[in-house]
Amino acid sequence: MPRNNVAWRRFIFVILIIASLALLTVTFREASSGPVHSIQQAGASILAPLQTWGAKIAEPFQDGYQWFKTLWSAHRRAERLEEELQTLKGEAIKLEETVEEYKRLQGLLDLRDKGVYPDGTDFTVADVIAKSPSRWSSWVLIDKGTADGVRTGLPVVGATPMTGETLAGKGLVGKVTEVTATTAKVQLIIDSDSAVNAKIQGNRAEGIVEGSISGDLTMDYVERDIAVDPKLVIVTSGYGPIYPADIPIGIVASVGEEDVNIYKEIEVQAFVDFRVLEEVMVLILPEEEP
């Protein structure tokens, strides 16, 4: 037997290694009914209840852990889905905006293609970049100016999303009253100072469409003896230096008469919804010879 600590230590170590290898060898060599296997099975049967109890004791904790894990996972998933939903909503809104813009531009194209304008008329589409801050005046500021050929006195048409009538949403917006190199101010036809020579399609009655502070349009100077039915379309008459003929303005909303007034009182519903005006088209008419 070894006499010092180190030798004793090494001796025991070697013995343990040999024992392990012996156990391993016997385990592999002997039959499954051999003594080592029997010892192992006996040991396992002793430990089995412990493992069973362990499983029972641990089960509620494991269930709790799994519950929290699932809850956390579901929470994370919900957050991720919420982010995706917000992204998709944003994309959907962008697409809707694009569709709406397309419709408005399509309306402007319809106005350009279906309208009858003087020879040499050019067209420029502009975005509305500002609107009048009060009802005292009604105007919009557009992002096109003299650099684009815009000058004062030019008529402006527009298209806004509306449904129903064929011409709904497309019609006269107003006229350019001030202009800079890159912007122009457009007086709307609903402005209280606006007056547009107009006629009613169907009976050829003529008059003047005027704006008001309330934003309502009325057609004045229509003789009382002329029959005017609601829903008739009102267009520009072409008289005067600004508006060419046959630009749609709106429809007859109601017709009234007063004894003290020699003209009919016609309320007009504009085709263009001025509250949601975003793009307009300036009709760049050829300049008249001096």
Binding site: N5, F13, L23, L50, G54
Partner: protein
């Protein structure tokens, strides 16, 4: 046999029982990063660090046999591996007297890594074969980290509870280990 020697054997038996109970009741049921900690190896490392290579090897053998029985694996596999790990860790402590917590962490990590490599080699020779790097990433390295992380608090706790003696760096450095 002296009373001191009987007490040491009693401690070994007590620790093995604790290891079996904790491993089967708790540790084997808690999976972290897809692996479970090996408390038998952890306690082998703690024993070896605190009491030297002989104690580590004896404890490793006992723990390994019990682990083989508990896991129904060929008897002697884990016994052999844990004997080697216990002796190696105990010898390192004696040689370098590194008994601070970082040393415990590193030795536990090394022991776990080598033990798993040895066990993987055994599995490769006798059982189902798996890709080396795949097993390294999914089993060996995560368990190495987990075992090392478990060993440090277990080591501190067992010393506080006086189940194992406090580190004896001076005597270890002098080569007169407590076996």
């Amino acid at each position: 046999m002296s009373r001191g020697r009987l007490a040491e054997i009693g401690r070994v038996v007590l620790l093995v029982v604790i290891a079996v109970a904790l491993q089967t009741l708790i540790v084997s049921r808690v999976s972290v990063l897809g692996v479970t900690a090996d408390l038998f190896l952890t306690l082998t490392v703690v024993s070896a660090i605190s009491r030297g290579p002989l104690y580590g090897a004896v404890f490793g053998f006992a723990a390994g046999v019990v682990a083989d029985i508990a896991y129904m694996e060929p008897l002697g596999v884990r016994a052999l591996i844990y004997v080697l790990m216990g002796y190696m860790v105990g010898s390192l402590v004696h040689r370098f007297a590194t008994v601070n917590l970082w040393g415990v962490f590193l030795m536990a990590a090394c022991a776990s890594f080598l033990a798993q490599l040895a066990y993987g080699l055994f599995q490769y020779a006798t059982g189902p074969r798996a890709g080396f790097f795949g097993m390294l990433a999914t089993q060996v390295l995560p368990e190495t980290v987990l075992d090392a992380l478990i060993t440090v608090p277990v080591y501190v706790l067992l010393i506080r509870l006086r189940v194992v003696p406090a580190p004896q760096a001076e005597t270890a450095a002098a080569g007169t280990g407590p076996e």
